[in-house]
């Protein structure tokens, strides 16, 4: 029973969910338009990332209730994935080396 008491905190007005739902639809439409309108290069990548992060933020914060959870849980769950960025940097550097060797020694052949 104490548990049920503790979680009555996750009662939010339905309107909030409907607004977020609508925002997610709008943001998805924007993401799709980036491709539909054929935006290329850096503007494309920037827009894709911005819309992606906004959608992910809304889902995690509102739908998954992270905005109302205790800070210790928020940090324990949201900080570790940031370390993936270190891995991204390592693999990007490795990829540059791989394509350099493929172009320099295989004449652009290879997979």
């Amino acid at each position: 029973m104490a548990q049920a008491q503790a979680h009555s905190g996750q009662q939010h007005p339905i309107r909030l969910y409907l607004v977020v739902w609508g925002l997610l639809f709008v943001l998805s439409t924007f993401s799709y338009l980036v491709d539909y309108l054929g935006i290329q290069g850096y503007p494309r990548w920037t827009l894709i990332i911005v819309f992606m992060m906004l959608k992910a933020g809304l889902i995690v914060a509102i739908f998954m209730h992270m905005a109302w959870e205790r800070l210790a849980l928020v940090y324990a769950i949201l900080l570790p994935p940031l370390l993936v960025l270190v891995f991204v940097a390592m693999m990007a550097s490795e990829s540059h080396y791989t394509i350099f060797t493929r172009l320099a020694f295989l004449g652009g052949a290879g997979p």
């Binding site: 996750q10 009662q11 210790a72 990829s95």
Partner: protein
């Protein structure tokens, strides 16, 4: 020691300290770190964190393959276009799949809300609707796979460019589709429990033998929203990039 005692009394008297100090106090406490979070919810979050790393590694492998190949990458905008009324519409099937999955996330959030309001009928109906939308998503994914396979996409080759396109595509979307499929099964199980009134009477679970409550619907929801969350990243990096 005096410091510690003071902090403990503070915690009782005035609630936990705010901000980072509160995080430190929670992690340094000798009972449990996630104070007002039930074990079920904490374990689901920790599972989702591990799943984040799995999908993170898949997307990283895809990035590495795409960055390191001298062969041009097939243009997803064209590969996933559909011919509607004699006109090629780029990426349309994927866009519809995205909207369906977002809608299922919306109905799931409503189900959680009605669960905490103890409206059994509405909760069960919304869970079933979520499951139906999820099944539709998997169906459309099966259609997409069939289309690509008949066009000659294999994990080792495809007609348009870099061979790694096929392996990345099947691995990433396949793993995500599997998650959706298991989600649909769990949604149906949860809907049946809600409909039967298991969470009103505190019926013990089949696997865990612990008393169920409407928080189970929220935990189910965490998994389902996560599946939607992963799709947001796949849509951005695999289909749009």
């Amino acid at each position: 020691m005096a410091e510690l005692t003071r902090m403990q009394t503070d915690d009782v008297a005035m609630g936990p300290p705010a901000g980072l100090r509160g995080v430190a106090a929670d992690f340094a406490s000798d009972q449990r770190a996630f104070k007002n979070v039930s074990w079920g919810k904490a374990m689901m979050w920790i599972f989702l964190l591990s799943d984040t790393f799995i999908f993170g590694c898949f997307l990283l492998a895809y990035m590495t393959a795409r960055m390191s190949t001298p062969v041009p990458w097939p243009n997803p905008s064209e590969v996933f276009a559909l011919n509607i009324g004699g006109q090629e519409v780029p990426l349309i099937l994927i866009a519809i799949m995205t909207f369906i999955l977002i809608s299922s996330s919306g109905t799931m959030a409503m189900a959680v809300n009605f669960g905490y309001r103890r409206e059994r009928g509405k909760t069960a109906a919304l869970l079933l609707l979520t499951a139906a939308l999820g099944a539709t998503f998997v169906g459309m994914q099966a259609f997409e796979w069939t289309k690509l396979i008949t066009e000659g996409v294999r994990p080792w080759e495809n007609p348009w460019g870099a061979a790694q396109f096929g392996s990345s595509f099947f691995m990433i979307t396949g793993f995500h589709g599997t998650h959706v499929t298991f989600g649909v099964i769990f949604l149906l199980v949860t809907a049946r429990k809600v409909w039967r009134g298991d969470f009103d009477t505190g019926q013990r679970g089949f696997f865990t033998s612990r008393r169920g409550s409407y928080e189970n619907v929220e935990i189910m929801g965490l998994y389902w929203h996560f599946v939607d969350l992963v799709w947001v990243f796949i849509f951005a990096f695999f289909y749009l990039w």
